[in-house]
């Protein structure tokens, strides 16, 4: 059932967002940056997951979320302090919740024992907050739940079924609406005084099924007579739900004694065919969502259908969207039109979910548009079009417009690196646990935006580097104390934009690279010749050689032979680079530099031999025509060019790329000053500059294979393929030590 699968997918996408929110909120609480909004956001995140999971009958997820939510509620109401101990349990619970979501999504099973243990811990916190003895399930909290065959953990909230989840999607459409209840809920001022909110309770009711709430305002006095903290509203609720009366009453269990409540089973008189579950209805409504511009329906009086989160822009047209009937959504799907949907993401910002493939296709098409626009204008000029003519002006405008379209399309794909950074705290917790080290993670620049493909492919190398930083970089607590450092090590991950690239730094305040040992190992493994005289930087870079590992024993963290060479390769595959700076006793910093996007690039088009090559503009500082007096030769073929007060190595690009074996005359060409990722400057010697333009990157690896010194390819206006230079690689191989280094790598590969 396609529509159902889609709803389910939307649910899991939303879960991912909620989990991220949950973790971010908990971390804020841990760092003491939390306010009541943060606690509320955290609570809401767990609550939303619970609500959605309920709709899909993901029982163990619902149960865990329920206990978690109950504990968070204690925190929210101020009865439970957000002490370190408490937040640590919450963070672990968030991890467990994430695992349960993953298990539910992929059909596996989560670690039931761990969830069970956490449930008990959470329950202990609730008891603590209530001033009770930990494991005693009191009458107020115990509730009936169906018996189960699975292991039972005492959560004080009923039985928990940990049998693997089986989701019968075909049943989902038909759920809800079997039982109808008439509920009268009249909160008292005591309830509000205990920081309970009627709207929270009502949200829980909405989560049970289809609820129609009518608010009785008749007891509200005039402003002159009102007690600001009094209670005057009564809520008459008609609820259709698949849940039992007990389940319905459960919603009110925290407020039962502070409100007047009656729950009556209604006779099944009218048809009630609108009985789809609100969560499904909610998701369906969102899948159908915004573009549907039918006029809002009139809502009479204060009667509102179950759609709590529906945004209504104007007060005079406050009708919330009625939840779309499943059949409607199915219809829309059949029309192939329901893929993207708008989600009202809690805040004011309206967002829309779009299948990534669609965006990619759009980007491809815009890329083609750019190429054709360039071709068209080039051909027109070749055919004799005057530069000052109206048509030429039109071409200029078209070019600008195309570029704007391209920028806008690229912006759709741009995402903050936060999505990757969010996973790090958990990773750090786990690695720290296993390695027995105390680690504090500091992240910076998490809102730095970068293309989604880059983000996706960033996660693995980043994970590996952080593992490495903790496992190899940081010392054990006792060693740290000896070295006069605090027991807790710091791993810092920072993202920033730097000259059109995204740079991610992973630094630790550990012992730094043990160069002596690294060199010994490299020699022992035959990666470098024993007599090699290596600089500190070169030794540091040895860890990127394939087959290099300093780990003496294979730990579960690192030393599995998947080394930094894999990290380096995956970063290079992204058109990125990685470098390392290490200071003994102070720690190491790994710096990854990646392109912001893998789709377009501003480049300088140059002639090299009889080829056209693109030099990425981000690397270029300036261009100059060297005079004979400025070029100095030394040591064979090596040449330097004098640029004001500096001498920079002159790199003959044609020779490096193998277009020519002869050393080109320095004075006949153009020197392009470039800055490598490590800040070192060099001059690239090319024959001539043709111009400067934006080019659409076409992967060489996907279409041909990796070529040393070449980052990618592009199609020029005249339809020819031009290669995009990998500046760093060309500069590195041009150096004698670079060549030596390469030979070292070849040795390793053999």
């Amino acid at each position: 059932m396609d529509a159902m699968a889609e709803i389910r997918q939307t649910f899991f996408e939303e879960c991912a967002e909620q989990l991220a929110e949950l973790e971010a909120g908990l971390l804020a609480i841990e760092n003491g940056e939390a306010d009541s909004d943060t606690v509320n956001a955290v609570f809401r995140a767990v609550h939303s997951i619970k609500g959605g999971a309920g709709a899909f009958c993901l029982d163990d997820l619902v149960h865990f979320a329920h206990v978690f939510e109950t504990t968070l509620d204690e925190m929210r109401s101020g009865r439970l302090d957000s002490s370190d101990h408490v937040v640590k349990i919450m963070l672990r619970s968030a991890d467990a919740l994430a695992d349960l979501v993953t298990a539910a999504r992929d059909g596996g099973t989560a670690d039931a024992e761990r969830s069970g243990a956490l449930i008990n811990e959470l329950k202990g916190l609730v008891a603590l907050a209530k001033g009770e003895e930990p494991p005693a399930p009191s009458a107020g909290t115990a509730k009936s739940a169906p018996a189960s065959d699975g292991p039972v953990y005492d959560d004080g909230m009923g039985d928990i079924d940990f049998t693997p989840v089986a989701v019968d999607l075909s049943d989902l459409m038909g759920m809800g609406g079997d039982n109808r209840f008439k509920i009268v809920f009249k909160p008292s001022s005591r309830m509000y005084a205990k920081a309970n909110e009627a709207n929270r309770v009502l949200r829980d009711v909405y989560a049970l099924g289809e609820a129609k709430v009518v608010c009785d305002m008749s007891e509200v006095p005039l402003l002159t007579a009102i007690d600001p903290e009094g209670a005057y509203l009564t809520f008459n609720i008609e609820l259709s739900t698949a849940e039992s009366e007990d389940k319905v009453r459960e919603v009110f269990e925290f407020v039962e004694f502070d409100s007047e409540l009656s729950v009556e089973v209604m006779e099944d008189d009218d048809d009630g065919d609108d009985s789809d579950d609100p969560d499904i209805a909610d998701i369906l409504a969102r899948i159908k969502a915004a573009p549907d511009d039918e006029g809002p329906e009139e809502v009479k009086e204060a009667e509102v259908e179950a759609k709590p989160a529906a945004p209504a822009k104007v007060a005079e047209a406050p009708a919330p969207a009625r939840p779309a009937a499943p059949s409607e959504a199915a219809k829309a799907d059949a029309g192939g039109d329901a893929k993207g949907g708008a989600a009202a993401g809690g805040g004011a910002a309206q967002t829309i979910r779009v299948d990534l493939e669609r965006v990619d296709r759009l980007i491809d098409l815009v890329g083609e548009l750019v190429i054709h626009q360039v071709m068209l204008s080039q051909r027109a000029y070749q055919a004799g079009l005057a530069r000052a003519s109206d048509v030429a002006v039109g071409f200029d405008e078209l070019e600008q417009l195309t570029r704007e379209i391209q920028d806008s399309v690229m912006a759709i794909r741009a995402q903050p690196v936060k999505s990757v950074f969010q996973r790090l705290p958990r990773l750090v917790r786990e690695v720290a646990d296993i390695s027995g080290k105390q680690v504090k993670l500091v992240t910076e620049g998490e809102w730095t935006e970068v293309d989604k493909t880059v983000i996706e492919r960033l996660a693995d190398p980043l994970t590996h580097m952080i593992r490495n930083a903790i496992d190899h970089g940081l010392e054990r607590p006792e060693e740290r104390l000896e070295a006069g450092k605090p027991e807790e090590g710091i791993v810092r991950v920072a993202a920033m934009h730097r000259s059109g690239r995204i740079v991610i730094e992973i630094s630790d305040d550990g012992a730094g690279i043990n160069r002596k040992r690294v060199k010994e190992i490299a020699i022992k493994k035959g990666l470098v010749p024993p007599e090699a005289n290596l600089s500190d930087e070169e030794i540091d870079n040895l860890i990127f050689l394939p087959g290099f590992s300093t780990a003496e024993k294979i730990s579960s963290l690192s030393g599995r032979g998947v080394g930094m060479d894999v990290v380096k390769r995956s970063i290079q595959a992204l058109g990125g680079r990685v470098s390392i700076v290490s200071r003994p006793g102070k720690g190491s910093t790994f710096t990854m530099s990646l392109p912001l996007t893998l789709a377009v690039l501003d480049g300088m088009i140059v002639s090299v031999g009889d080829q056209t090559v693109v030099v990425p503009l981000t690397a270029i500082i300036e261009t100059l025509q060297p005079k004979a007096s400025e070029v100095k030769s030394f040591g064979g073929d090596a040449r330097l060019v004098q640029v004001r007060d500096n001498f920079l190595p002159l790199v003959d690009v044609a020779r490096e790329l193998g277009y020519s074996y002869e050393l080109a005359s320095a004075t006949g060409g153009v020197a392009i000053l470039v800055e490598a990722e490590n800040g070192a400057r060099s001059a690239l010697l090319v024959d001539a500059i043709q111009g400067q333009r934006q080019v659409v990157i076409k992967s060489l690896e996907a279409n041909y294979g990796r070529v040393p010194g070449i980052a990618a390819a592009t199609i020029l206006g005249d339809g020819r393929v031009a290669l995009i230079l990998d500046v760093d690689a060309v500069v590195a191989t041009s150096r004698p030590e670079g060549n030596f280094f390469n030979s070292g790598m070849q040795h390793a590969a053999e």
Partner: protein
């Protein structure tokens, strides 16, 4: 019937911008603020509201009835999504609040 309209442009009166957080703690100050505006035509700008608690809703209902009693105009302008959805949960709409009859 300008009083029933919620469009800011069609109304005149003192504009009071509701604070973003209208929770339990905001209830008493809200009553005090509204009492200080009693008798004037007012427009409540709800565009900044991010959180809406039930007690502040009660106060807004009471205020609407009070203004009606005073024959002064009372309106809610540009309700934020949070404001509107906060009311929906309670089974209310901005319009419904304004229609509260004076309690006898």
């Amino acid at each position: 019937m300008p009083r029933k309209s919620t469009k800011a442009s069609s109304l005149e009166g003192t504009v009071y911008s509701l604070p973003p957080v209208l929770d339990l703690k905001a209830a008493t100050p809200l009553v005090e603020k509204l009492m200080s505006l009693k008798g004037q035509n007012i427009v409540l700008d709800a565009s900044k509201v991010e959180r809406l608690g039930t007690q502040c809703v009660q106060i807004l209902i009471a205020a609407a009835a009070t203004w009606k009693d005073d024959m002064a105009s009372f309106s809610i302008a540009e309700p934020s999504d949070s404001f509107t959805s906060g009311l929906h949960v309670l089974g209310l709409t901005p319009q419904a609040i304004l229609e509260k009859e004076v309690a006898q």
